[in-house]
């Protein structure tokens, strides 16, 4: 059954956009270049249609969209706040309403520490965590295979579509943390899902309706990649890059991110994740479940440079 489903799956497309001169002085980034990278990424996602048409093909105009960021690592290794805001603003140019866009993560404190300025002003782009009064977690458990969790009401109720805007990192247990594992921040008990290289937990979680039915797009923030000893920040193994990875296939996006991490590891003379017995097995589980493509043979990678 599952194999049949896989064979019928079309080849997945992943867009890798490289920038040049994105990092400017004092840790700032060139916002214009970032916007160009978004434009090019969206353009390639859907066979060269305009970025606005691409946005419209993914989201209807009154969609409530969650931009799930990853801020657990603190200011040095979280989804960049400027990137998140630029993306949200840019999406509004494609016809989405600012008040319907929510940049969010597990807690207000973690968002703040990562440099986000919280706001829930009606009509503005929203930024807050699950612990905001009125949000919180569902009382009922969502159960799927190895998973039994309470979902953030942001994921289960507030939004109708989701973008996983994750930072790309090495992970001591899962191998990597990218777009799929980012949704660990959407449940109340992620600490229970780190055994066995987080496998099959990451894939089982992604398969639950609050994620599977809403996830539309993965964007991996590759401006600052932790390629070893993650998910915590270690300057020694952190690489400033100028890359964004886009895909509507969550597995293929992560699989491409994994290859990038392996490349950085090889350049630094580090063993592969497989050699360290932490190959991201969750990707193959996800592929077997039909959630997307992990095998590079079936992933069309389009690379472009700004």
């Amino acid at each position: 059954m599952v194999l049949g489903k896989l064979n019928k799956m079309a080849q997945s497309r992943v867009v890798v956009i490289h920038g040049r001169g994105v990092h400017i002085s004092n840790g700032q980034i060139d916002e214009t270049k970032i916007i160009h990278m978004f434009q090019r990424g969206f353009q390639h996602l859907k066979n060269g249609i305009s970025p606005s048409d691409c946005i419209r093909s993914l989201f209807h105009s009154d969609e409530h969209i969650g931009l799930k960021v990853n801020t657990l690592g603190g200011p040095k290794i979280s989804t960049n706040p400027t990137i998140s805001l630029l993306l949200a603003h840019w999406l509004t140019k494609g016809g989405l309403k600012p008040g319907n866009l929510l940049i969010w993560d597990r807690s207000n404190a973690e968002l703040r520490q990562a440099g986000y300025r919280l706001t829930d002003n009606p009509g503005d782009i929203q930024i807050f965590g699950t612990d905001k009064p009125g949000a919180g977690y569902e009382n009922a458990l969502t159960v799927n295979q190895s998973i039994g969790s309470r979902f953030s009401r942001i994921q289960s109720r507030s939004i109708s579509a989701s973008i996983s805007l994750a930072i790309l990192k090495d992970h001591g247990l899962a191998g990597i943390t990218a777009g799929m594992k980012n949704y660990f921040g959407a449940i109340h008990n992620p600490n229970k899902y780190h055994d066995f290289n987080c496998n099959p937990f990451i894939a089982d979680l992604f398969e639950t309706p609050p994620i599977l039915q809403k996830h539309k797009l993965t964007i991996l923030d590759g401006l600052n990649i932790q390629f070893h000893r993650g998910p915590s920040f270690h300057a020694k193994w952190n690489q400033k890059e100028e890359i964004f990875i886009f895909s509507t296939d969550p597995v293929a996006a992560d699989a491409t991110g994994w290859r990038l991490i392996e490349k950085l590891r090889a350049s630094a003379g580090l063993p592969t994740l497989k050699e360290e017995k932490r190959e991201p097995a969750y990707l193959f589980t996800a592929e077997r479940k039909g959630l997307g493509r992990a095998n590079l043979k079936y992933i069309e990678v389009i690379e472009d440079e700004i």
């Binding site: 612990d131 919180g136 009382n139 458990l141 001591g172 008990n189 600490n191 229970k192 915590s232």
Partner: protein, 373 residues
């Protein structure tokens, strides 16, 4: 979790002790709705280079980078130092009868001030208190309840015992041991209700501070522990052995789950091992399972299954075998292993007839092991 839900879920724990007690608790404490976590340095961890740490408290040995939290959800590495967030932060406080823990050979009918914090170092699919055990402290209402206040409260409510229970006390080890030491100084007793998933060193350190430990032995197979507990059996067996060799009173509870851990062979092996390790006098409670949490697809344990477990354990030579969660069953009672006469009659958490004198059978003088005064 909102306040109403909190009271419903955790308050429900003490309903059987009488609604008056629940009201007492509600009046006593104003629950703190802010995160308000403690930041006390944890015991039992090793610092590694690059601000990484390794937790040595339980057999998981969590290795954590900066800003990462352990499996238990209550301990976090902050810049290379490991902290507990639940020191003095109780999320459930009630007055229970000691029989509810259950302890049947430890000060019967005593009132027990029982407390818990959020968190657990396993994830049993049949957890009865998952709404407080399988959450982080930020996700549940809690109150400031430092050790000295716990002791004062126990004294105020004539509770000679403090119980660390409901969730997994191992994860609030520092709070438990400090409170126990203060309680000992005040002449109170301490009892621990635990899954026993703890490393030998912290356990050895805890033993002098407590009077009794009840271990929830969840099965007698590693496979069960892997699949349904997300833990390991062997460290629990090791913990039982260490406690049995100490002067701390030990009782064992075995929750019998239909088709998962109730085979006669498993029960026989477990009973045999228990007798060899802890002796024939260790009380063993076979408890009835009810569908709960992530195991809702199974029926409650049939009485006949519990009776079969009881019979096997008795055949293996254990003297004090009980059946729990079936109020009124005769196997709730304690019988003299010598003359077979009724020593303590129980119905649920209530005690009826009592025929013990100075820890001996009133009829034949047989010494009955336990802490009776």
């Amino acid at each position: 979790m909102d306040r109403r839900h909190f009271i419903k879920t955790t308050g429900g724990l003490s309903l059987t002790a009488g609604s008056g007690l629940l009201n007492t608790c509600s009046r006593l404490y104003a629950f703190d709705t802010s995160a308000n976590l403690s930041r006390k340095e944890a015991r039992y961890y090793k610092k590694h280079p690059d601000r990484e740490i390794e937790c040595l408290l339980c057999p998981r040995f969590c290795k954590l980078g900066d800003r990462e939290r352990g499996y238990c959800g209550v301990r976090e590495n902050i810049d290379g130092t490991y902290y507990t967030f639940v020191y003095g932060k109780a999320c459930a406080v009630h007055l229970d009868p000691i029989e509810k823990k259950p302890f049947f050979h430890f000060l019967p009918q005593s009132r027990t001030l029982s407390l818990a914090t959020a968190g657990c170092n396993v994830n049993c699919k049949f957890c009865q208190n998952w709404e407080i055990s399988q959450v982080r402290p930020e996700q549940v209402e809690h109150q400031d309840f430092p050790p000295h206040q716990v002791v004062l409260t126990a004294q105020k409510y004539d509770s000679p015992i403090i119980a660390y229970t409901y969730t997994e006390p191992i994860v609030f080890f520092e709070y438990m041991i400090d409170t126990s030491i203060e309680a000992q100084k005040a002449g109170l007793r301490n009892v621990v209700v635990t899954g026993g998933h703890i490393n030998p060193e912290p356990l050895q350190d805890l033993l002098p501070a407590v009077d009794a430990i009840k271990i929830d032995l969840k099965a007698f197979s590693e496979l069960f522990y892997t699949e349904y507990v997300r833990g390991k059996l062997q460290p629990v067996l090791d913990a039982i052995k260490i406690i049995a060799q100490s002067s701390v009173w030990l009782e064992i509870v075995y929750l019998v789950i239909p088709s998962l851990n109730d085979s006669p062979e498993e029960i026989r092996q477990m009973s045999r091992w228990l007798k060899q390790t802890a002796g024939k006098d260790v009380p063993l409670h076979f408890s009835r399972f009810y569908p709960m949490y992530l195991l809702k697809n199974l029926p409650p344990t049939p009485t006949s299954t519990l009776e079969r477990c009881h019979r096997i354990a008795r055949e293996e030579g254990l003297h004090y075998v009980y059946i729990g969660n079936i109020p009124g069953h005769k196997a709730e009672n304690t019988y003299c292993p010598q003359c077979q006469k009724l020593l303590i009659q129980r119905t649920g958490y209530s005690i009826g007839e009592k025929n013990l004198e100075e820890g001996r059978c009133k009829y034949c003088g047989q010494p009955i092991p336990g802490i009776w005064k």
